[in-house]
């Protein structure tokens, strides 16, 4: 019942580093938040989970970086952008979440299935690669068994894999043991 405990956050615990980082990365208006809750009210995830967008923004402003990055809540956003569109202070909430997710991955926090999706991209050049059932469907539709994408051109796949390596993506998504 830790959520029932009254917690007083004193100024000594507030660290402006995280909001400063977001501001420098394009979320310029994050400090304009007035905690009105329009984001929470607009979010399809908040009406069915314990995740609260407004609280996330508050935690960003308090600088509770570890708590934010380690929480699965960060991955409940569908990136529908409704909060961003409706925010009366024009804060780019969804983009802030995308940035925080990038930070979380760098710290090694990533959901297991997401690590798999990243692996498909690295291995096949498609986040959703072809399967046997679809190959048969393609044949029945008189389409080539494999689409004219990286699936049909080995040199193209090689290009993708070269770029993935240059960007350091492989190391990034495979590193870290904090997988949940």
């Amino acid at each position: 019942m830790s959520h029932l405990k009254r917690e007083i956050i004193t100024s000594s615990r507030i660290n402006p580093e995280l909001s400063r980082l977001l501001i420098n990365s394009g979320i310029e208006r994050i400090r304009a938040c007035i905690q009105c809750g329009t984001c929470t009210a607009s979010c399809p995830s908040t009406s069915r989970t314990a995740y609260r967008t407004r609280m996330l923004i508050r935690k960003i402003l308090f600088g509770f970086k570890e708590e934010i990055l380690a929480s699965e809540d960060l991955w409940l956003c569908t990136t529908c952008y409704t909060c961003s569109e409706r925010c009366p202070r024009k804060i780019e909430v969804t983009n802030a979440i995308l940035l925080l997710r990038n930070l979380a991955v760098r710290e090694g926090f990533m959901l297991g299935p997401h690590r798999d999706v990243a692996g498909y991209l690295i291995e096949h050049g498609h986040a959703v690669p072809i399967d046997e059932e679809t190959k048969k469907k393609r044949e029945r539709l008189e389409l080539p068994t494999l689409p004219p994408t990286v699936h049909s051109f080995a040199t193209a796949l090689k290009e993708v894999q070269t770029l993935v390596k240059i960007a350091g993506f492989e190391t990034l998504v495979k590193h870290g043991e904090k997988q949940r």
């Binding site: 990136t79 983009n95 690669p129 679809t134 689409p147 994408t149 193209a156």
Partner: protein
Amino acid sequence: MKYAFYLGCIVPNRYPNIEKATRVTLPRLDIELEDMEGASCCPAPGVIKSFDRLTWLLLSARNLCIAEEMGLDILTLCNGCYATLKEANTVLAGNEKERRKINEMLSAIGRKFKGSIKVKHVAEVLYRDVGLDAIRSSVKRGLPIKVAAHYGCHILKPTDLREWNTVEHPTFLDEMIEATGASSVPYRNRMMCCGAGGGLRSGVLDVALDMLREKLENMRQVGAECIVDICPFCHLQFDAGQVQLEQKFKAVYNIPVVYYTQLLGLAMGLSESDVGLRMNRVAAASLLELEKR
């Protein structure tokens, strides 16, 4: 009108019937499609962009380069691919620092981003360039069905990087549906997300399915006979998701899911071998019975 045809992942690798319907219907409206050979995942804005923005930007730049080399604007069928390619195209064309960095990396594979093409969604091409009148003239049989339209999020948002200037009350898809003779019925909270995006469907399936259940409930309440979408990822969520809702939660809806070019093909009088409605997981046989109505 000729376009570089960007397939993405879900259309060719899960719903080739959408690919077929598109390849058959668009030429009838004087749109020529040329394949983007060797294109990869866009990469997906919900997952890959969430993991690493640099990888996302770099791989989308490569896809954009393929179309630039063809000298054609891109036509995509997917809201997610549209989001990625359109946003990356805008960022790279407008930000010299990012463009230089990406081009340095692209030089390893002998490519260079120039910023010479546009990225369009098929709905944008059909509504703006082809127009409703041409769609109406191509229709051979009216479809007397009640449709629940689903726009999907990323065709409209974020609005500063989109072309519609509307987010809460768009009408273009409804107009396109009605141009085929079907009627688009309003339903509660219809602009709500399908629940698939942002890596939610792959990462936390139960929450994604709960959103889907709410959407389907609202569609059922108004007696929708089918769902028409313009995004293959929403399509997958509605179609494969209904099977999962039944397996996991015993919730049965049985509302057929139809991509817009499949609806168009049906209205043009094309046969099942061209629109492939039977290949969806939720049986769309009721729609094929329309010929008899």
